[in-house]
Symmetry: C2
Subunit: 218 residues, 2 copies
DNA sequence: TAGATTGTTAATCGATTAACAATC
DNA sequence: TAGATTGTTAATCGATTAACAATC
């Protein structure tokens, strides 16, 4: 029996990008950074950061911290962001446009190779210097260029249909922004992004705060 | 000592919007829905849904399920989405535009009252039928109309500054989409939305799947 | 040395899952 | 009645937090 690979927890994975940003910011002025320092910046407990950095498989210096030059590539490698993966974006509406413009995904290990849209009026135009292709070319381009990631930014009515096409074309992972849960075969990774989740959390925190302040007043 | 209010867990809160959507879809054809049914639709365990619905304080019928007419308002009330709160949007770039267009937040208990932007060229124009105001009017409008929620969709360079203005104007909750962690006094709720998190999760799942399929092949 | 921080083991906490009688 | 599902209590699992010796 071989050593089973211990998978990092999802919360740890989610915290990594924040660490990366903070450290990248510091990298111009500092050589070393401690878990304590990062945690303070984020308003979280130092032990959390220490545990997370442990996952990277690098060593820090007691009393000092971690070498930033070592830390950055370690996190990038952990996230798989060290070699930009090619991706396609389906849907060139305002959401698709916003995603394309979002600080450029370049820093996020992702390179958007092509943009597709159903609307003939949009085809041929450019957004953020990316040319928009007709949907008909989707399957061909994906298989020809061995694209493994697709971003769905189409209206929810055609999201599942789009996903089916992507799966048929051999895509390996789908990042879905349509407000509907997309289903796909188990070997295809689906990450559903849902704005409503964040809003639900916001409202629930607000409610809690209001009941607290009501108690203070009453 | 009074009964301490038991707060629902964050994962439960996050699942509620999905439940709501599914049930709203069913509401045209069905009268009742079971936790099992909802769970199957979402690909999660029925016990999870049952536990979550328990938080709503309504009763189901054993062997049958829940009355949809009761369930919908119960979830909306739980989320605080039964009375749309007024909100302002700061930043009318592609992200702000996308947010405004995102199926309209009307269903999400939020009504965007006004849109603000720094750029004089944008001021006066309309997006999705909302007029864009200059930033100078922000504080006045917030206090005059007792707005409690603000959405930040400005570049990360001015996000903290924008947040400070909002706090000074008396805002109670900030939903931040700039890729930077915003800080505010403890009595102000901040919900930082971070695209990079989702991407990190996607990549980590992809990695896991690839190591699995490599194992299958090898 | 004194102070800070790491790496690591153990304790705690909370969310998920299991089990099952009661009910439609 | 048989089958399904609820409400509820208990068991399990995993993430967070605490504690502390070792090290710079």
């Amino acid at each position: 029996m071989e050593t089973s690979v211990k998978h990092p927890s999802l919360p740890s994975v989610k915290r990594m990008p924040m660490y990366l940003r903070i450290i990248q910011n510091l990298s111009t002025t500092e050589e070393q950074v401690s878990a304590t320092q990062i945690a303070r910046e984020l308003g979280i407990e130092p032990i959390v950061t220490r545990k997370d950095l442990e996952l990277l498989g690098i060593l820090g210096k007691p009393g000092v911290g971690y070498n930033i030059k070592e830390l950055i590539p370690a996190i990038e490698n952990f996230l798989g962001w060290d070699n930009a993966s090619d991706a396609v974006l389906v849907g060139a509406g305002s959401l698709g446009t916003a995603l394309l413009g979002y600080q450029g995904f370049a820093n996020y290990g992702m390179h958007i190779t092509a943009v597709f849209d159903q609307d003939p009026k949009k085809v041929g135009r450019e957004i953020h210097k990316k040319k928009i292709f007709p949907l008909e070319k989707l399957a061909n381009l994906i298989s020809r260029m061995h694209i493994s990631i697709a971003i769905i930014a189409v209206p929810k009515e055609c999201a599942q249909e789009t996903a089916d096409k992507l799966v048929a074309a051999g895509i390996k992972a789908i990042w879905n922004f349509a407000p509907i849960k997309i289903s796909a075969p188990t070997h295809v990774i689906v990450q559903n992004e849902d704005l409503a989740e964040g809003l639900a959390v916001l409202f629930s925190k607000l409610k809690r705060e209001q009941s607290r302040s009501a108690k203070r007043a009453g």
